[in-house]
Structures are given as C-alpha cells and as structure tokens.
Amino acid sequence: MDQETIYIQQVVAGDVNRYAYFVEKYQKMAFATAMGILGNEADAEEAVQDAFLKAFRGLGSFRGGAKFSTWLCKITINCALGRVGSRGSRDGGSRGGGGSRAGGGFVDIELADEHLADVDSGYKRLNDQDQARCIREALDRMDVEDRLVLTLYYLNEQSIEEISAATVWSRDVIKMRLHRARKRMYGILSRMPELKNV
C-alpha cells in the first residue's frame, strides 16, 4: 500500500489534517490546470478551492483505480469548465469563451510546418514584454481544449495516458489536439503585426 493510499484512509477516518499533504502537493498542478482553462487568477483560485473541496467530499468513494493526481485533475477540469459555462452565460467570457474569433481580425488557422521556424525566429527577436503580450493574445484566441491540452502536457508534464484518464479524450485525440494546438498557436502568432514586420 503506497503512502497516498494510507493518507487517504486516514483522511476518510477523520484525520482531516492529513489532507494538507494533498493540498500542498497538488495545488500547483490544479492551479495550472484551472489557469489553462480560465485564464485569470481569481477564477482559477476559486475553481481550485471547489475542486479540493469536492475531492474531499468524494474521498470515501475514491477506489484508487486511478492516481489521486489524475482524479483531482479531472475534478479540477470539471470545476473550471463549469465556471467557463457560468461566466460565458454571464458576460460572454474573455479567455475560455471558446475559439478563435474571425471577427477579431484573426482566423482559425493552423500554420504549415515549414513556417513554424519563421515565426519562432521572429518571436525570438521581440523583447520579453512583447513576447509575453503576443503569447497572452494568442492564448486568448485559442480554444479552451487547446489551452488545456497544452497546459496538461507542457506545464503539468502529464503523460498522454494521464491526460486521457483526466479527460474524456482518447490517446489519438490528445495527440491530434496537441499537434493542432501547437500549430494554431504559431498560426495566430504569425498573423500578429509584431511578428510579421520583424
């Protein structure tokens, strides 16, 4: 029996302080996941709080079929997506609103592989502030799913299997989404005037 399983049993038995171990260990992963979907700290913070609370309530029914981190990731995704839904119906949402907006001057393009290097070299010539602004704009214009898969894979460093367990996507779908998300990000960047003129 591994350490986490023992801790889970202790929490279920009433030793609530043991839960601090999970909060400490996984808050960064959960926060990054929520940020990937919601794109702002306040919403992400609330989604993470909800997720940990839901995980605590459901800990008794956690059978250990998956890793705790994967299970928590799944709950976090659901909490964050729930907020995207409520925020979308409230104000249309900014990041997380769903998809590239052709009306905003950008079209939903996937850049051909041979142009990736051009964008990359143009991007590298920008200063730090411009780079950050361009990436933020590009992320704003991407689908929630694209941002999520990039976050899980590149920032949380989760494997395809773990992402598959945390989402409802198959391995092939995840690989395809990763590929398309990368190309979309470069595609959006390629349309930015800062990167065109360098």
């Binding site: 609530v16 839960y19 808050q27 926060f31 993470v48 780079q131 920032l155």
Partner: protein, 112 residues
C-alpha cells in the same frame, strides 16, 4: 521544441504559481466541512437516541401495565386516543421537552 513551448506558455501567464495563501484557504474550508459533518452526525445521533428512549419507555410502560393486569384490551383504543389528545393539548411542552433532550445530546456529544 517542448521546452520552447513550455517557456512560451509560462510567458503567456500559464503555469504561474498559485497564491501563497491558497493552501491555507483550502484547509480552512476542509475543516469547516468536517465540522459540519460532525455536527450533522451528532444531531442525527441525538434525535435517534431520543426516539429510541421514547419508544423504549412506551414499550416498557405497556409491558408493566400488562403484567399488572391492568391492561384492558377493550379500552386500549380509548386510552390511546386520550393520550393523543393529551399530547395535542400539551404539544408545546412535548416538543419543547424533546428539543431540550436533543440539544442536551448535541451539546454533550458536540464537544467530543
């Protein structure tokens, strides 16, 4: 390539560290949830105990009454109806008494 994309995402604001007080806030909520659970369990236990004692008293009274040979089956219905009427007339007293016992139970067990 992977590291480049990771750096780009970090620069775009993803992967930022959580606020320093996040874990404290989460643990406060978890403890409040645990307190609510305990309180709920204590209230339910107290109510069940009161009901059990009440049922036991009724059964014990009936048995003693029967053993004493004072149980007249022909008047049981009448007596029950009279008891019902008494409870109805003294509903506030009965409800108050039961609530007092429940709160006493909650107060006692809630401190554990």
């Amino acid at each position: 390539m992977e590291e480049e994309i990771r750096q780009m995402l970090l620069k775009g604001g993803l992967g930022a560290p959580p606020p320093p007080s996040l874990d404290i806030v989460i643990m406060q909520k978890i403890k409040a949830e645990q307190d609510r659970r305990i309180y709920r369990r204590v209230v339910i236990n107290a109510v069940l105990k009161v009901l059990a004692v009440f049922a036991l008293l009724v059964v014990a009274g009936a048995v003693l009454w029967w053993k004493a040979g004072r149980l007249d089956w022909s008047t049981v219905g009448e007596r029950c109806a009279a008891a019902g009427l008494w409870v109805k007339d003294h509903a506030y007293v009965v409800a108050g008494g039961m609530l007092a016992v429940v709160f006493a139970g909650v107060f006692k067990f809630g401190r554990e």
